[in-house]
């Protein structure tokens, strides 16, 4: 609280990004964990909550006649434009936010004060929901070829690895330790995924410290051990996910890649995925396109292409496809690494696993996948997503890219995933929100030192509790799409990669399809289920009554009444909206005098007109626009997404068009 210079400012305007004319006036509050904007006057008193952890950047813009503008950009791609009347106040808010958005201690983060009012046992149970030992057992290890090694039990070998890793049976502790000394950050080859069907596996590591000519017997033995753990193949692939040039450059620094001459029976492969700096810039460019005011189609398409974002997504996907193919079709094990083995390696291993194993396409399985390949293997959440104030060059949208790969796959294979888009968006949101403790710190070691499990709550438990919201209505576990390996088309496929407006324009509801097919189908399914249950009950009753042979007229009428109650759910009627400003030339809002302007200027949009097609929110089934979901409001309340639920609703779809 000591960082807050100005806890409350009144008469602040919140601008709609797309229509600078459409502003709401309200009060701005700064708390220890959130920035809150409360609308004045309106009956609903709409609130916009933003967690400090979500704030990516704050820009104080030039003071105008109307006040001092403050632009807040969030890591979940929400952009909030405020106008604060007094420059002094604006400055105070700005300074406070700068500090609040850059915590120096973990204890400042929301997860340490977040209290969903669950008992200690429930909190513990929540953490136990995802159990990696169970997962490895499910895969089929340990077995004749693979064993658990506790060589890292005190993080003595590699401090970014978990205490328990799975290694080939023939890899002794000596080999592991030797290999770890020859690998960047000591990240020796360890098992990521094991394919029961053909013994092929995906292993992961970091780059070898081979320089131009260095060798390490133990490291070579390690790779041999991996090969031997798969009797069905006499070689393994070693996949370096970096561009060849970068890998070669690393050699000058004493690192590099595996030389096929030194390592027997390996086939080496570069799959060029760019590094974290390129990705950071790519996202930046794409977000700039998203912030354009009334872009033309060309502006958008050129901007998107220029950012290179979709190209990078495709590169990650292609790498995953290559590995999945190697494992499923060729039955060959793969060792994957990049530089440090915690970014591109994680992306590629998890995409490949997702393609290979339908379990990871279930809700639980997906949580397990992230826990395994990202959390346990030491992906640097803190550095990459800025839990704490750190080096801006470490920030990069690595897991965002993985999540987008999953979404792209969902679009290509709509029946294959048990979860829906909302699940992915909420996970991404919480990776940055620090509301839960799963994605804190840079390694398992750090998390244990901080006693995360005892002091915070698990996101997985929260999502699992609300899993009904995250289901995909067209998923069926017995569907052909959900069985076995997924085979995305490799070529031609440029058109298969779409811009994910649900994520990058998440808070601009007007941009998205106004009616949610997912929600509609889920409602239909629910109703069907209710009807079926009701039918069963009534049938039973009918059977009983028939036995006792009483008058069945009464029974019949009861049946009719019940089925009338369950009228077909119609959620769509209320999902209307206001028209955009389809004309560039609209000069003023809300009122416009016909005598002003020239012939080409367009229309009068008065408040009255707009109100006539206000959406009937109460009948709206789309959770995201549920303003009345009050339980999310306070930090001590339920742990949902305040900034989202009270964000812009479909009423505010008034914005300029080209």
């Amino acid at each position: 609280m000591e960082h807050i210079r100005m806890p409350k400012v009144e008469n602040v305007r919140l601008l709609d990004r797309l229509s600078s004319r459409r502003a709401v006036v309200g009060t701005l509050y700064l708390t220890a964990t959130h920035v809150i904007f409360v609308e004045n006057g309106s009956e609903t008193r709409k609130e916009t909550w933003v967690l400090h952890s979500q704030i990516s950047s704050i820009e104080k813009q030039a003071t105008t006649a109307t006040g001092c503008p403050l632009l807040i950009r969030c890591k979940n791609f929400q952009v909030i434009q405020l106008v604060i009347p007094q420059e002094r106040d604006c400055h105070d808010v700005y300074i406070s936010l700068i500090r609040l958005a850059r915590p120096v201690k973990y204890e400042e983060l929301y997860c340490f004060s977040f209290n969903p009012k669950l008992g200690k046992e429930e909190r513990e149970q929540g953490w136990k929901l995802v159990d990696l030992n169970e997962e490895y057992n499910r895969m089929g290890v340990p077995n004749n070829y693979w064993q658990i090694s506790d060589v890292n039990r005190d993080y003595g070998v590699c401090d970014s690895y978990p205490t328990e890793v799975y290694v080939p049976k023939s890899a002794t502790a000596h080999i592991i330790v030797g290999s770890s000394k020859f690998r960047s950050r000591r990240r020796f080859p360890a098992l990521s995924y094991y394919c029961k069907g053909n013994n092929a596996s995906i292993c992961r590591s970091s780059q070898p410290l081979s320089g131009f000519s260095a060798r390490c017997l133990e490291d070579e033995q390690m790779l041999q051990a991996i090969r031997k753990a798969n009797p069905g193949s006499d070689f393994i692939y070693v996949v370096d996910t970096r561009p060849k040039l970068n890998a070669m450059a690393n050699r000058a620094a004493g690192k590099g890649y595996e030389n096929e001459d030194n390592y027997s029976n390996i086939k080496f492969q570069f799959i060029g995925i760019e590094n974290i700096h390129v990705m950071r810039n790519s996202l930046q460019k794409m977000l700039e396109v998203c912030e354009l005011k009334s872009p033309s189609m060309s502006d958008f398409l050129w901007g998107l292409e220029n950012s290179g974002w979709l190209k990078h997504i495709k590169a990650i996907m292609d790498a995953g496809i290559f590995i999945a193919k190697a494992v499923a079709e060729e039955g060959v094990s793969v060792l994957v690494h990049c530089s440090d083995g915690w970014d591109r390696t994680a992306q590629v291993c998890s995409v490949a696993s997702l393609l290979l194993d339908p379990y990871y396409r279930t809700m639980k399985g997906f949580m397990v996948l992230i826990e395994k390949d990202w959390v346990s293997f030491g992906h640097k959440f803190n550095h990459r997503y800025g839990n704490l104030d750190g080096d801006p060059k470490e920030i990069s949208p690595v897991i965002d890219q993985f999540i987008e790969c999953v979404w792209q796959l969902m679009e290509q294979f709509p029946c294959a995933f048990e979860f829906n888009e909302r699940f992915l968006i909420h996970i991404q949101h919480h990776i940055y929100s620090c509301q839960f403790g799963n994605f804190l710190c840079n390694s398992q070691k750090e998390r244990r030192e901080l006693k995360i499990r005892e002091r915070t709550y698990s996101l997985w438990a929260h999502l699992w509790k609300n899993r009904a919201d995250y289901l995909n209505p067209v998923y069926r576990s017995d569907h052909s799409q959900t069985q076995g390996t997924l085979h995305p088309q490799i070529a031609p496929c440029n058109f298969l990669y779409k811009f994910w407006s649900g994520m990058y324009n998440r808070f601009e509801k007007g941009l998205h399809p106004r009616q949610s097919v997912t929600d509609y189908l889920m409602a239909v399914k629910e109703e069907t289920q209710q009807l079926e249950e009701e039918l069963e009950v009534l049938q039973e009753r009918l059977a009983n009554l028939q036995k006792s042979q009483s008058g069945d007229n009464k029974v019949k009428s009861k049946q009719q009444d019940r089925s009338e109650q369950f009228g077909l759910y119609t959620s769509s009627n209320s999902l209307a909206n206001t028209p955009q400003e389809y004309s560039k030339d609209l000069k003023s809002f809300p009122s416009w005098s016909p005598s002003q302007g020239d012939e080409d200027s367009a229309l009068i949009l008065t408040q009255d007109n707009l109100k006539s097609s206000d959406p009937d929110l109460s009948a709206n089934s789309d959770q995201e626009s549920g303003v009345e979901d009050l339980s999310c409001r306070s930090p001590s309340g339920g742990g949902c997404l305040p900034s989202e639920d009270s964000g812009k609703d479909s009423d505010e779809a008034v914005f300029l068009a080209g």
């Binding site: 872009p295 033309s296 189609m297 060309s298 958008f300 398409l301 050129w302 998107l304 292409e305 979709l310 495709k314 290509q412 294979f413 709509p414 029946c415 209505p473 067209v474 069926r476 569907h479 052909s480 088309q489 031609p492 440029n494 058109f495 298969l496 990669y497 779409k498 407006s501 007007g510 941009l511 998205h512 399809p513 106004r514 009616q515 097919v517 189908l521 239909v524 399914k525 069907t528 009807l531 119609t570 959620s571 769509s572 009627n573 999902l575 209307a576 909206n577 028209p579 955009q580 389809y582 016909p594 012939e599 080409d600 367009a602 229309l603 009068i604 949009l605 097609s613 914005f655 068009a657």
Partner: protein, 324 residues
């Protein structure tokens, strides 16, 4: 909502009392009307040199004219051809795909058409004003705008029956020259002068609406694809010739079958219905931001992209809805 062709003002600024009277009677006392001219102001002015032109402000005092340039004719046909070429180019790398897509300008045309239709709809619905739409001939972009505007405004046009009625009224009977426009499509080397995919552009816009409002149209993508096919080559007489007059001369009604009759048969109809349809009495306002307008893959990548998984998804959707 009215449509016409351009007034024959000519270089000498001719007037026509009857025309002025006609437009005058449409407006109530004190009311104002809008004229949406689908040519750019420049093009409309130039049209005067060849005998056409625009409504002079002084003669039509209660009508405000707006120009919304919509491409037609050669330009649109070229756009279509470039898009189809980009889609079927196997050597196209990810690096260049979006540039080629943009280079075709097809999506820009979709955006422009939807925006103009929304503008017309807005005038009617929000301003409670009458709207007159015309381009040059009144047979191409004019029909695009009026038909789309009705879909946006009128829920009855969004039913299967209503949509067929809309097509009959606003495209077929209104005299869109199908024979000239839908001769060779995009792959033909002989690029006919009259060829232009206006009707396809209309169908694309309808598809965009269905994507943004998946519950509000009673028909699905299959209908749009079928209409596209039949406009170019058909076993039915519905899209033959260039006007009602020609159809009458060729005795189309006596010698051919109607596409509508076939589509509406119970055993055919269900293929074209949208299982998610839920009548929506409100006006549906689409977003015309670039992120909201997507490439109609079902048509442009119809033979290139494998549709198996998407078909399965649709079957599943059908199953869920029918289960209820």
């Amino acid at each position: 909502l009215l449509r016409s062709s351009q007034p024959l003002t000519g270089p000498n600024r001719r007037r026509c009392r009857e025309d002025e009277q006609l437009l005058g009677t449409i407006l109530d006392e004190g009311q104002r009307g809008f004229i949406i001219d689908t040519r750019s102001a420049q093009a409309a002015k130039q049209a005067r040199m060849s005998g056409g032109g625009t409504e002079p402000k002084s003669c039509y005092p209660h009508w405000r004219r707006m120009h919304r340039a919509l491409d037609r004719g050669r330009l649109l046909q070229e756009s279509f051809i470039r898009l189809v070429e980009a889609c079927s180019d196997p050597s196209l790398s990810m690096d260049r795909w979006l540039a080629r897509l943009d280079g075709s300008r097809w999506l820009s045309h979709v955006k422009a058409a939807l925006s103009t239709a929304c503008l017309a709809a807005q005038c009617l619905d929000r301003e409670h004003s009458s709207v007159l739409v015309h381009g040059a001939e009144g047979t191409d972009t004019t029909l695009l705008v009026t038909a789309l505007a009705q879909l946006i405004l009128d829920p009855s046009c969004r039913t299967l029956e209503g949509f067929q009625g809309l097509l009959e009224r606003e495209w077929i009977q209104a005299g869109h020259p199908f024979h000239a426009r839908c001769a060779r499509s995009a792959s033909a080397h002989a690029r006919g002068k009259q060829e232009a995919p206006l009707f396809l552009l209309f169908l694309d816009c309808v598809w965009q609406l269905s994507r943004q409002f998946p519950l509000s149209l009673e028909f699905g993508e299959q209908l749009l694809l079928t209409l596209f096919d039949n406009a170019y080559a058909s076993a039915y007489g519905t899209f033959l010739c260039n006007s009602e007059r020609e159809r009458s001369l060729c005795k189309v009604k006596e010698s051919t079958h109607s596409l509508w009759a076939w589509l509406n048969q119970p055993e055919e109809k269900h293929k074209y219905l949208n299982p998610l349809y839920s009548p929506n009495p409100l006006v549906i306002w689409p977003s015309v931001e670039p992120q909201s307008i997507q490439l109609w893959q079902g048509l442009f990548l119809r033979w290139i992209r494998p549709s198996q998984h998407l078909d399965e998804a649709w079957a599943e959707i059908q199953r869920v809805v029918e289960g209820n």
